[in-house]
Amino acid sequence: MRWRLNRRMNRRMATGILLAIVVVALVAIAIAGPLVTEQAMATDFARKDLPPSWQHPFGTDWMGRDMFLRTIAGLSTSLRLGMLTASLSAGIALLLGSLAATFGRLLDATVSWLIDLAMGIPHLLLLILIALAVGKGAAGIIIGVMVTHWMALARVMRAEVLQLKQSGYVLASEKLGVGKLTIIRKHMLPHLLPQLLVGLVLLFPHVILHEASLTFLGFGLSPEQPAIGIILSESMRYLVAGTWWLAVFPGLMLVAVVAMFSWLGGSLRKLLDPVSIHE
């Protein structure tokens, strides 16, 4: 019994350490991207189509570009775009969720209508339409992903605010005639922020996957930009030629980054909410 307890405790500690490592790794990739972009784009036909080796861990492509550097540059783009769009989505979620819960039934009904509406149009189609409307590129991705990813978190925020509204000090403030916005700012935001943080981190996987998908299909970033979607879409043309590494490694790295975010979000949620720890 004692042995099991110790093991559990260690696992929890290990989670904390791993958490730090994952964050550092993700930040490192995000920062490294712009620094290696130039090198990643450098073509050298003397070293084209090289399989993975110590010198080029992910091999090189048909223009002799180093696939490892290209992958890092692409992931960095994904991470930075993801950070921006996920934050914007979370912002919308916070705004609409708390407004819905605070300003009466009409607004509540409107927001829930908006949620149903945004959830009804298949995301990828809506993303494509938006991308076309604003003229592809980063802008299309940012706007598109922003308006298609806020719904689930908005529901969470709404439920949280509704619960907070029933709490003693909020009811007391209302009696004292404190304004609604002040109550939101002073009493609710501090409680909502941890939830929002978890929601934000958990948005990343969806955001990054959608960005990659949109770019892969040709509606996102352009071929000159370092993007994982571009790399993978190009790799398809060379599958038959046998240069499998063009598709395998960048894809695996993308999976790893997305999985790290999922895990990060899940762990954060458990840490911030000790009651739900017993899994």
Partner: protein, 260 residues
């Protein structure tokens, strides 16, 4: 410990030095062992109704769960639980629970919301004899008239409690553990439900009634065990609650005074 004499004194349930502890997280990265029940001793004889009285949240339900072998994974217990002189191991209780040893839980949330009452009572048995018996039992508790075809949400609080009791009765349980069977019921209904447990004891079963309501417990129980801070502070005949002087522990005396 166990010998033929022990059996002969018709003890149905004998709990000795029961301790139950929980693992809890204390902060982000560490956790502690939280002992909810320690060194609890309770005996129930055949034909006897023993009430365990304690404030809500004092771990009374855990006691019921430990007897039935359904404690949550993060709880551990130590001590000895004997049923008719026989040590109750996990394997043994798994054989006995639901037949000789029956739990009567709190209320309607313990019934499958999507299954008809009759189906739940029968537990998959389809033979005519069991069906016949079920109908008799339901009739006895005023649940005739097609109640067996209703879903749990269609029952009133009192009906749900009686349906839960009929489950124990159908099994001819020798030991019945009632875990807070009255909350949410008005005094009259609660009395009626408790009187059913009295009848079951009078019919020869041992009944362990876990409740927070001393008043009601005194009306039906022979013996009262008062639980405080995770252990039994008083184990006495119900009649000793007539006067404060016959009570031992300060907590019990406080309870007694609160009744006035």
């Amino acid at each position: 410990m166990s010998n033929i004499n022990n059996c002969a004194d018709n003890t149905v349930l004998d709990i000795r030095n029961l301790s139950i502890s929980f693992q809890q997280y204390a902060g982000r990265f560490s956790h502690t062992q939280l002992e909810t029940i320690h060194n609890l001793n309770v005996k129930v004889h055949a034909g006897e109704l023993v009430a365990i009285v304690g404030a809500s949240g004092s771990g009374k339900s855990l006691l019921a769960h430990s007897i039935l072998g359904i404690l949550p994974y993060n709880a551990t217990w130590s001590g000895e639980i004997r049923y008719r002189g026989e040590l109750l191991t996990q394997t043994r209780i798994e054989e006995l629970r639901g037949s000789e040893i029956a739990l009567v839980p709190q209320g309607v949330s313990h019934l499958d919301p999507l299954m008809k009452i009759g189906t739940q009572i029968l537990k998959g048995r389809k033979d005519a004899a069991t069906r016949q018996k079920m109908e008799e039992v339901l009739e006895r508790y005023g649940l005739g008239d097609g109640v067996e075809n209703l879903y749990p949400f269609e029952l009133s609080g009192g009906m749900a409690r009686r349906a839960l009791i009929s489950m124990a009765v159908l099994e001819d349980a020798k030991l019945i553990i009632a875990d807070e069977p009255t909350p949410g019921l008005d005094a009259k209904l609660a009395r009626r439900v408790l009187s059913h447990f009295r009848e079951l004891a009078d019919d020869g079963a041992g009944v362990l009634l876990i409740t927070h309501d001393l008043e009601l417990a005194l009306e039906v129980a022979e013996r009262i065990v008062v639980m405080h801070d995770g252990t039994a502070v008083e184990d006495t005949e119900a009649c000793n609650f007539a006067r404060e002087e016959t009570l031992q522990h300060p907590y019990t005396k406080a309870l007694w005074r609160a009744r006035l």
